[in-house]
Symmetry: C2
Subunit: 354 residues, 2 copies
């Protein structure tokens, strides 16, 4: 909730992620040291583990609050089922803090599906939003592009994609500080008549949205940075994301095979490593903190399972920024402006699909 | 047509591609020199240009047939319209040779959409095939994976994907010589319940198909080589393909920026170039010739616009192989085996979509 409370309280899932609780607690401590005094941090998870990590970091005396949560949802668990069964999981407990107004945001590097499910069950959707979406940063030649959705919704309708465009543009403008973000629709072929049924219908909507819509963008345009915000359904978005994440491993393996025994080529590979690493890190959102879950009635940032302390720290900064800039309020206002159009389309689309 | 004719005649679009007619004619000449005597080549296009190129290659006396075609469909032209208007284009004339039984296969590095459209108009679909598909090679850690469809069909139904699986497996077995190709369904999440409506329905079909079906594969599994054949709709396939094609340019650009002035890093980049190049070449099918258009009533290979003579030569070899192995006949037989199942599903799906 974006409360008018003087303090901004950020709840952090201490138990989520491959290196939890260490990475998360370390990230919170790093964050604490640079945050302004009106921000408070809350670590959610098994108290004794958290205290142990804080001690290891000589940070047990910092005024970081701990809220006990007995259970942990593991990375491999079936999200919806785990969220319902493990009421005392750090994800559910943390999300509840937001619901109860005891926190303004929640950050987790845990099971993405569970964070999604818990946020929907606990906080629900933002008024006017049909489908929340996960927005993912992709590195580009120019900087960064926000791609959404990357996995929350595998089957979408045009009015969903339209809303993704609105939410992505607002996030891009207020958090990534891009003045007039270009919004592109991921499709095949640049012409408006090209694509599948979903994108052709979505093109029309986006074109009349008042967004800085630059039309269809193709798969090759993502890394080029043709658009600041790339809109797609969560099925396509997730496949492209996973494909992108696999590139580093593929080339590293290829290199190992082809250059064995060649000293110069070995040096070459060594020198190339930072480039691959920085590409992968951009996808792991180290630099940008985490992937915001846009469209829920709260602030929620999903971090990569392998998040470093720095990534957690950056996620905290982004969460603070989202609360301060009242991103959700802006989204709601913009959706209200487009309310009639969206409603009409939604009605029509729901009728067609029956 | 796969005729019983003693000679295998391969028609080649001399005017298609960025470096046409040079690359194509040079590729044909290279091919001629290594082909067995029962294969004949036919260059289709503007006769005087072809003769000029042959002279330049000192190959004007080779017994390569020339079939005159006055018109050229340019790369940027709207495919369906151009195919209807330019009856005398090299693509239409070449495709007609196959229809009239004067050629057994057609190869083009020209406008992909036009080749698709012309093949459908002129040759039609193979009996039992609902939708032809473009099959694309992706490099993998293990060798190569065939991904289909990569652009012929932007909206698909489960029985289409099912047929893509069958066609891809047969091509993989007979042409790529993979004994028992693993067929994967591109989706999000490995479990059968994960994905979108299309993949969940397709999973059931593929699972009961008798194919060596390894279930859902994710975006990251393509380059890993988890499956030999990756089935997806042409929208997703095309986006992943275009994204993959953009990787080389992205990293090259990234390197140029980050290593300026650093001698060692420069050397590193130089040494890495072959790895990127080989990745891109795999996608350009230099090594494997071209992307077969599977499911049309003929043999048709679509080469990358930037095809080198070697790529054209390899496409000729693949076309010969497809004719000799009677790939279309095998596909038809396999589809007949599964005919009832496909028909039932198709009926049901078509009903639902109305």
């Amino acid at each position: 909730m974006e409360t008018a409370d003087a303090k901004i309280k950020i709840a952090i899932d201490a138990m989520g992620g491959d290196n939890a609780p260490f990475s998360v607690v370390a990230g919170a401590v790093m964050g604490y040291r640079i945050l302004p005094p009106d921000v408070e941090l809350i670590l959610v998870g098994q108290r004794h583990h958290i205290i142990e990590e804080l001690k290891g970091l000589h940070a047990e005396n910092l005024p970081i609050q701990i809220v006990d949560a007995a259970e942990i949802i593991e990375m491999g668990e079936e999200p919806a089922e785990a969220v319902k069964r493990k009421k005392q999981s750090s994800i559910n407990v943390g999300m509840n803090l937001q619901k109860e107004g005891k926190a303004s945001a929640f950050i987790s590097a845990g099971n993405t599906g569970a964070v999604m499910a818990s946020s929907l069950l606990t906080l629900g959707r933002l008024e006017g939003v049909a489908r929340p979406a996960i927005a993912q940063y992709f590195p580009t030649e120019e900087g960064v592009a926000l791609v959404l959705d990357v996995g929350a919704n595998s089957d979408c309708k045009a009015h969903h994609l339209f809303q993704f465009g609105i939410m992505g543009a607002i996030y891009s403008k207020h958090i990534l500080k891009i003045r007039n973000p270009k919004v592109g629709l991921l499709s095949i072929g640049e012409e408006r008549s090209k694509g599948n049924e979903l994108t052709i219908a979505s093109h029309k909507l986006l074109d009349s949205s008042g967004l800085n819509f630059c039309g269809n963008v193709e798969g090759r345009d993502i890394l080029k940075g043709t658009a600041d915000v790339v809109v797609c359904d969560g099925f396509v978005g997730n496949i492209v994301l996973k494909f992108a994440e696999s590139i580093e491993g593929f080339f590293t393996g290829l290199l190992k095979k082809t250059i064995r025994g060649n000293l110069f080529a070995n040096i070459g590979a060594l020198l190339m490593r930072p480039a691959f690493k920085s590409f992968k890190q951009s996808l792991d959102y180290a630099e940008y903190g985490g992937a915001p879950l846009l469209g829920i009635n709260g602030v929620c940032i999903i971090c990569h399972g392998g998040s470093s302390p720095k990534a957690i720290m950056n996620a905290i900064l982004v969460a603070v920024d989202m609360v301060r800039k009242q991103v959700n309020k802006v989204i709601q206002e913009k959706l209200k402006e487009n309310g009639n159009a969206i409603e009409q389309i939604a009605k029509k689309e729901n009728k067609v699909s029956q």
